[in-house]
């Protein structure tokens, strides 16, 4: 598009130059041509008139006399030879062989009768330009009392036909000269055109670079504004718009930071009273038996809701830390299968009817055990709650050429360094159930915070942050997690974490 703009600018410039050259050339040509032709015809007409007027003849003229006059006139052609024709009534004579010429138009004959001073006409015949002149012979009678003369046509008219070929050649030469002058002029005009285009386009190029830098997120991009004119107006507008954009983005970011800080502060503030409450819930549970039934129910309600509130607040804190990018990864080298088995054992998910394991031993991975435990526990808990048993937990490694993993939720910052030679190794954990699967409209939102797949869903199924925290935990490991429906129904969650194991050194 920029090249198009440059081309258009240059073309416009050249067009202006061409019109200028052309107009100048055309005007010059016209003036010069007219001057040339007029000079030729003036000379011819005036000399013809003088010669015709110089004759003395007796009327009516006889043919020999007329023939002689025509011949003598033909010899005295100026500035060039001409053919002379004589017409008297129906008599046609000429200096040449033909008694009359086809070049003499009826119009000239008509005009010849009306103008005693003679008339002329330029005629082009067969591509040849001719000057034709008509000169009637008049009687001059001195008028008494006025000192003037009256002219009466004698009915005898002399015609002269002269070629204008030389003038035409001169005119053609002028056209060629104009053309030959105009083309180099246009070629020379190309240089300032390109320079002008360049100087016009420099601000455009600056603008393009600035826009690109803006697109890369450098909101403090500004263009130096030089002088006046439309392009610096454009630059000024760009700068103002960018400044406005920067302000609104800043404002948004500040608002977002405030919102995050607020969520974090709220959960912090909630945590302290909860710590006190949580410490005494057991005491309430123990003593509830000794209270009257209503009070006991109320006390038990407070106790169980306190537990849930504690989980919720803890999850909120966790999410706040992810949002504030304050979440830390405390990794340890562990046996992946062992870690998953321990997670399930500690939650008492050990019934082989409900949980099917496919956990090959010997896969060592560098993980944050606490976070990985949360990931596995959330996914399995989810499968047990929303799906149908048996829930399958499978572990495997995959080796893939480096490149971004094909996942809906990509890692936050690229793929990890491949251990030795451009291949990445991934630890793949899959949790599948035999339930109805995830509805298509819910699928994109499963990792959203507090997303309720079913509006009527009761609150008693965890904090509503479980999968969001799972996603964040996996991302923190540089991995991906995605949800899908298995080929034979049931939801499948796939966690992929880059496998980086350190060298064994004794």
């Amino acid at each position: 598009m920029i090249s198009g703009l440059r081309t258009r600018l240059v073309l416009a410039f050249l067009l202006v130059a061409a019109v200028g050259c052309g107009t100048t050339a055309a005007l010059t040509y016209r003036e010069a041509r007219n001057a040339l032709l007029e000079q030729a015809q003036d000379t011819a007409v005036s000399s013809f008139r003088d010669q015709v007027e110089g004759f003395h003849l007796n009327l009516p003229p006889n043919t020999e006399q007329m023939q002689g006059m025509a011949r003598s006139l033909a010899r005295q052609g100026k500035p060039r030879n001409w053919w002379v024709y004589v017409e008297y009534g129906s008599v046609r004579l000429s200096s040449g062989t033909n008694p009359t010429s086809t070049v003499i138009t009826p119009e000239l004959r008509r005009r010849a009768r009306g103008t005693p001073h003679g008339s002329f006409q330029r005629v082009v015949k067969n591509g040849e330009p001719y000057l034709t002149m008509a000169m009637p012979v008049v009687f001059k009678t001195a008028q008494t009392g006025t000192g003037g003369q009256t002219r009466r046509p004698a009915g005898l008219t002399f015609y002269a036909v002269m070629r204008l070929t030389d003038e035409q050649v001169n005119v053609d030469a002028m056209v060629v000269a104009a053309r030959d002058g105009a083309l180099p002029a246009l070629a020379v005009a190309l240089v300032p055109a390109l320079l002008a285009a360049r100087s016009v386009l420099r601000p455009v190029r600056d603008l393009r670079q600035a826009a690109r830098s803006l697109g890369r997120g450098r909101l403090d991009t500004r263009i130096p504004v030089k002088g006046g004119g439309e392009l610096s107006e454009l630059a000024r507008t760009f700068n103002e718009s960018t400044a406005a954009l920067e302000r609104s983005v800043d404002e948004l970011q500040r608002a977002e930071a405030r919102a995050r800080r607020f969520a974090s502060d709220v959960s912090h503030e909630l945590r302290t009273p909860l710590a006190g409450m949580l410490a005494v819930t057991e005491l309430l549970d123990e003593d509830a038996a000794g209270l009257d039934p209503d009070t006991a129910a109320a006390v038990r309600l407070i106790s169980s809701e306190t537990d849930k509130l504690a989980v919720l607040v803890e999850d909120l804190m966790e999410i706040s830390r992810f949002d504030a990018r304050a979440a830390e990864l405390n990794t340890d080298e562990v046996d992946a299968a062992e870690t998953i088995r321990r997670t399930l054992q500690s939650r008492h998910w050990t019934d082989p009817e409900r949980i099917v394991l496919d956990l090959p031993d010997g896969i060592r991975a560098r993980l944050d055990p606490r976070r990985f435990d949360v990931v596995v526990a959330n996914l399995v808990g989810n499968a047990l709650r929303h799906g149908r048993p048996p829930v399958t937990v499978a572990l495997r490694t995959e080796t893939r050429p480096p490149g971004p993993a094909e996942a809906a939720e990509g890692p936050a910052d690229g793929t990890p360094d491949a251990p030795g030679g451009g291949v990445t190794h991934w630890l793949v954990t899959e949790v599948a159930d035999r339930g109805p699967g995830i509805p298509a409209d819910v699928l994109p939102h499963v990792f959203d915070r507090f997303y309720k797949a079913d509006q009527a869903r009761t609150r008693s199924e965890g904090s509503g942050l479980g999968l969001a925290i799972t996603l964040e935990n996996v991302r923190l490991h540089g991995g991906t997690v995605r949800a899908a429906n298995g080929p034979d129904g049931g939801a499948v969650f796939v966690v992929e974490i880059p496998l980086t194991t350190s060298e064994v050194t004794a």
């Binding site: 710590a275 005491l283 405390n330 606490r370 435990d373 050194t505």
Partner: protein, 227 residues
């Protein structure tokens, strides 16, 4: 029943934890500041210190260091995940374990018991005192001497050393150590082990930077020896 001193600035937490532990039969004394806690220490003579990290004035880490200057009293820190204080700083200062608030009383009590529990004696005709290089480990008297001089070890350090030296040259992963020495779940925080190992090395190794007794196997864990 153990005597517990709780240093916690928030009255609700202080009162709640005190109520819960007292109900479980502990003898609990509380203090609202680090200074008051240190004063109560000498007079109350607790078996264990529950210490909040975030205290007004003198913070938990400073209290912890002050206590460690003079005694090997078991110390459990109360922390909140994501607090400004990194739990590692508290562990470096000599705490034996930590509990993330908010916690149920049963969790708190389980930790207290774990820290106070004596390491299980592996049966079999072991000599009362084992010698490993310059180290003399008395498993019965629960003392450790280096080149004849008694080394003062905090409960977690002593238990870790006893556990590792009971099976010389066997590699234990951090997660295993968390389970056996601290009785944490398998998914505990490995930094707890690392901090304890660093403290132990500073006390028993000739050159802590290149350890002889507590050796690291990168990626696998720790082992005692080979000497």
């Amino acid at each position: 029943m153990p005597r517990v001193l709780l240093i916690e600035d928030d009255p609700a937490v202080r009162e709640g934890v005190e109520l819960g532990l007292r109900r479980r039969g502990h003898d609990v004394r509380t203090a609202a500041t680090g200074e008051a806690g240190l004063a109560a220490l000498a007079e109350f003579r607790p078996d264990l210190l529950l210490l909040d990290l975030m205290l007004p004035g003198m913070n938990g880490v400073q209290v912890c260091r002050r206590v460690r200057d003079t005694s090997q009293l078991p110390i459990i820190m109360l922390t909140a995940r994501g607090d400004d204080f990194d739990v590692v700083i508290g562990l470096e200062a000599g705490a034996d374990d930590y509990i993330v608030k908010p916690a149920r009383t049963e969790v708190i009590e389980a930790r207290i018991r774990a820290v106070l529990r004596r390491i299980e004696e592996p049966g079999g005709g072991r000599p009362a005192v084992e010698f490993h290089g310059e180290l003399a480990v008395d498993r019965a008297g629960l003392t450790v001497a280096k080149s004849g001089e008694r080394v003062a070890l905090a409960p977690s350090e002593l238990k870790l050393l006893l556990h590792l030296s009971a099976a010389p040259e066997q590699v234990f992963s951090r997660q295993q150590l968390l389970e056996h020495v601290w009785e944490h779940s398998y998914h505990g925080d490995a930094r707890l082990v690392d901090a304890c190992v660093r403290r132990l090395r500073n006390k028993i190794e000739d050159v802590p930077g290149s350890p002889r007794y507590i050796q690291t196997l990168r990626g696998f864990g720790y082992r005692f020896g080979p000497l």
